[in-house]
């Protein structure tokens, strides 16, 4: 049965709403596939072992680590990166809040922060700051000290719930 193992695998998936077909090496992880093969550099490659969160993308409606998923596993999947999320406008308010609150400096962690925060915001309600902090605990930021990021997410949650008074 060894002939069933392949070192290059054909995959068909949708990325940011567009159909994509590709032949990928068995070792290729999703982030290198998106960045190097498709030229989608929105999601960043950081630690490549699941610790930093810079590579967070959405696969089949859930936030996942792009470095801990092989491209070969994405056959049939629906993948969204920051490019698609930006174009579709679903996180426009969150992106505006990041700018308004100065919730980024170098910007390396920002795509992952947005992808993770989007998950939490989609659950609805107004999460308290501890919940936001916990949800973003898998996303490292070495610039901001996190407070402005928490402010931004909290502000958007309140605004979406229609309770923003500021």
């Amino acid at each position: 049965m060894t002939e069933a193992f392949r070192d290059r695998i054909d995959i068909a998936l949708t990325v940011n709403g567009e159909a994509v077909e590709a032949r990928v090496p068995a070792s290729r992880h999703m982030i290198d596939f998106l960045r190097l093969d498709l030229g989608l550099t929105g999601a960043h490659s950081g630690c490549e072992h699941g610790v930093c969160g810079a590579c967070t993308i959405h696969v089949d409606g859930q936030a996942v680590r792009g470095c801990l998923m092989l491209a070969a596993q994405a056959d049939g999947a629906e993948v969204w990166t920051l490019e698609g999320l930006t174009e579709s406008g679903v996180i426009r308010d969150l992106q505006d809040a990041f700018v308004a609150r100065n919730a980024l400096q170098c910007g390396y962690c920002t795509p992952g922060m947005l992808a993770s925060a989007m998950d939490l915001l989609e659950q609805g309600g107004i999460p308290d700051r501890a919940t936001i902090r916990e949800h973003l605990s898998g996303n490292y930021c070495r610039c901001t000290g996190y407070e402005a990021i928490i402010d931004a997410v909290e502000g958007v949650a309140k605004a979406r719930a229609g309770k923003e008074t500021a």
């Binding site: 049965m1 060894t2 193992f5 490549e48 072992h49 936030a63 998923m69 092989l70 056959d75």
Partner: protein, 277 residues
């Protein structure tokens, strides 16, 4: 760094996966959620693996109650365990544990079968299954086998799973009405591996206590359990500290982990009995 796999094949069912493993010349490696395996591959801790991707095998997923036991398919993800109503009712220890495992994005892909087969001594689920007295179900070329959790965890990253065999499910006894489950751990940051952790189960028949991150494998703390059954919490703390075998690293010294395990037990018992520690 970049992974260096030997090959990849997507299994359509368990038999197909077993055939693939049998044909992999000893290099076969089961890929489920990949949250530990792909990290290890990226760091080149594991190279040349012939990956057998079992993640699409629907039979290996889901939570049911069968013959008065809770059955959890190997591919059930941490995020599903965190919110599953059957698990919350019949094995709330796992619900508590899931919240401690890494971060949301990792819980969305990591699987309970993968966590058990990987057998990281710092992982929560192996210790939970041990404390609950669970059974681990495996399937290989020679058929199926049921391995009690007590016999499953052998050493660091080492289990009773033989080459070419797949972990298919775990089953657990249903929690009694008055049963209490408590998982307590201390980590430096949320989502980090615990410096020390405990799973405590109080049943009508007595206490069950397991410890993780304090030795080469999760430990069922038999001497401490005997002391807890006798109502001797102070004695149980001493027994637990004598039973565990922590090592020191950059996160914490062995002495600190040993101390911490006792503190966690004191606090856990205070919570269960409602009396201040």
């Amino acid at each position: 760094m970049k992974a260096m796999a030997g090959g990849y094949a997507r299994a359509t069912d368990v038999q197909h996966a077993l055939d693939l493993l049998a044909g992999a010349d000893g290099m076969g490696r089961v890929l489920a959620g990949g949250q530990s395996l792909i990290a290890a591959m990226n760091m080149r801790l594991s190279t040349g693996d012939m990956l057998v991707d079992i993640s699409r095998i629907a039979d290996l997923r889901g939570v049911t109650v069968e013959e008065n036991r809770l059955r959890i398919g190997a591919l059930t993800r941490h995020a599903e365990i965190e919110t599953d109503p059957l698990i919350a009712e019949h094995a709330p220890l796992l619900t508590q544990a899931a919240g401690h495992i890494a971060h949301a994005a990792i819980r969305n892909r990591g699987t309970i079968g993968g966590a058990l087969a990987h057998a990281d001594p710092a992982a929560e689920f192996p210790a939970c299954v041990l404390a609950l007295g669970g059974m681990i179900h495996v399937q290989g070329p020679d058929g199926t086998r049921d391995i009690p959790a007590e016999d499953f965890f052998v050493d660091v990253f080492e289990t009773a799973l033989e080459d070419g065999v797949i972990l298919t499910a775990i089953t657990l006894p249903l929690a009694e009405a008055s049963e209490k489950h408590l998982l307590r751990e201390t980590a430096r940051r949320s989502g980090d591996y615990a410096l020390a952790g405990l799973c405590l189960v109080k049943r009508a028949a007595g206490h069950r206590l397991s410890a993780f991150s304090v030795g080469p494998r999760p430990l069922l703390a038999l001497a401490a359990m005997e002391r807890l059954d006798a109502g001797d919490i102070v004695g149980a703390v001493s027994a637990l500290r004598a039973e565990i075998d922590p090592t020191g690293d950059t996160q914490a010294s062995a002495a600190y982990r040993r101390h911490l395990a006792g503190v966690l037990l004191t606090r856990a018992m205070a919570e269960i009995t409602g009396e201040p520690a």
